[in-house]
């Protein structure tokens, strides 16, 4: 088969379109009148609700931290401090992503635009990884420094095992939440929902673009 044959088949298709394709001008005119409620709606990788809930959550954590700071226990301060820090970073990245998405120029060259979009969506993977790091701190916030010398040794052993397990799990998740593990059962169980589909597609797109950039 020759190249020209492919083009001829396509040319016939194109001619057919020219003859038989009907443009509903009235419908198209309606589209130009539609009010798009939000400029971000089409490209937003996460729902606005998630961001709003995130803002409220970090606001609560920051407020809590400010209130307990003068006399709070060391464990509480360190735990809430780290949890607040991680959540603030995550919400900050989400908002930054939304702002960047809103200024994307859709008429830029395809590979450039798609790389930009896919990189943005892919960064959501990083937010998730970072959020996992707070896990062990949820097992320490209620501890008191005064228990250190007086507490039951068995309690401290159990506490140590739990905290270390959570720390290990957090580090393991931080390392292993990546595209290469997308087909693993645990990954699908944790992230096999609707919100993750675009993230996986974005990563696929980045792989495609990397192939293009290699040559």
């Amino acid at each position: 088969m020759q190249d020209i044959e492919l083009q001829q088949i396509w040319k016939l298709y194109d001619e057919k379109l020219q003859e038989q394709l009907i443009f509903n001008r009235k419908n198209a005119a309606e589209i130009t009148k539609l009010k798009v409620k939000s400029e971000l709606a089409s490209l937003r990788p996460i729902k606005i609700f998630t961001v709003m809930a995130g803002i409220l959550w970090v606001f609560f954590l920051d407020l809590l931290l400010i209130n307990i700071f003068p006399g709070g226990s060391m464990f509480l301060l360190i735990s809430i401090g780290f949890i607040a820090l991680v959540n603030n970073i995550a919400v900050g990245i989400y908002i930054y992503q939304l702002v960047l998405i809103s200024v994307i120029n859709i008429s830029s060259p395809v590979v450039k635009t798609q790389k930009y979009l896919a990189s943005l969506v892919n960064s959501t993977l990083w937010v998730t990884k970072i959020l996992m790091l707070q896990l062990p701190f949820w097992t320490t916030f209620f501890l008191s420094s005064s228990w250190l010398g007086t507490g039951n040794p068995i309690f401290w052993v159990i506490q140590g095992v739990i905290t270390l397990s959570f720390a290990g799990l957090a580090i393991w998740l931080f390392i292993n939440i990546r595209y290469e593990n997308r087909d693993k059962r645990w990954f699908k169980f944790l992230f096999g929902n609707y919100e993750w589909t675009p993230i996986m597609k974005a990563k696929e797109m980045l792989v495609q673009i990397e192939e293009y950039e290699q040559e």
Binding site: M1, I9, L21, I31, I106, M205, Q208
Partner: protein, 163 residues
């Protein structure tokens, strides 16, 4: 209707084939295709004030249509972006039942099997765009276009012959 509106609609009408071909190549069914067509027209309309006449209209339209079609999360936003999705079809074919073109159908189905960027490349090539123009739309060098295109054509021809 404003003059800008009229100019825009005429531009769409004269290049309706581009929108249809892109939408058809990136969608599985008619509903999905209609959603995409509406979304492409909306994005074109939003970008239209920034269009510079020194550029080729068809090249500009191809860029936007392909960007909208390829965007990874397009399906997630389906029908949500356009607030009140229109019930009528914006672009449609008057089907000629007597006409059946097996080769064309095979070619279209093979194009749909390609990766998204490869699909964009072959669409532009089949539509007769030159390597520098394809490079402009996609943001690739001419040599990269030539290399990739040669590989995709080989792939297509091999599959075509096998069918």
């Amino acid at each position: 209707m404003s003059r800008e509106n009229e100019t825009f609609l005429s531009s769409i009408e004269s290049n309706k084939g581009i929108i249809y071909k892109v939408a058809n190549s990136y969608c599985k069914d008619a509903d999905d295709r209609e959603d995409l067509i509406q979304e492409i027209i909306l994005q074109l309309w939003k970008a239209f004030p920034a269009f510079k006449p020194e550029f080729k209209l068809s090249t500009w339209m191809y860029r936007i249509a392909l960007n909208v079609a390829i965007s990874a999360y397009r399906k997630a936003s389906k029908r949500r972006q356009i607030h009140q999705p229109l019930s009528d079809t914006t672009l449609y074919l008057v089907e000629d039942k007597s006409e059946s073109n097996e080769k064309r159908d095979v070619l279209q189905s093979l194009i749909k099997e390609l990766k998204e960027v490869d699909r964009a490349l072959i669409l532009l090539y089949l539509d007769g765009y030159l390597y520098p123009e394809i490079g402009q739309v996609l943001g690739l060098s001419e040599s990269n276009v030539a290399t990739k295109l040669s590989r995709i054509k080989q792939q297509l021809k091999k599959k075509f012959t096998a069918k």
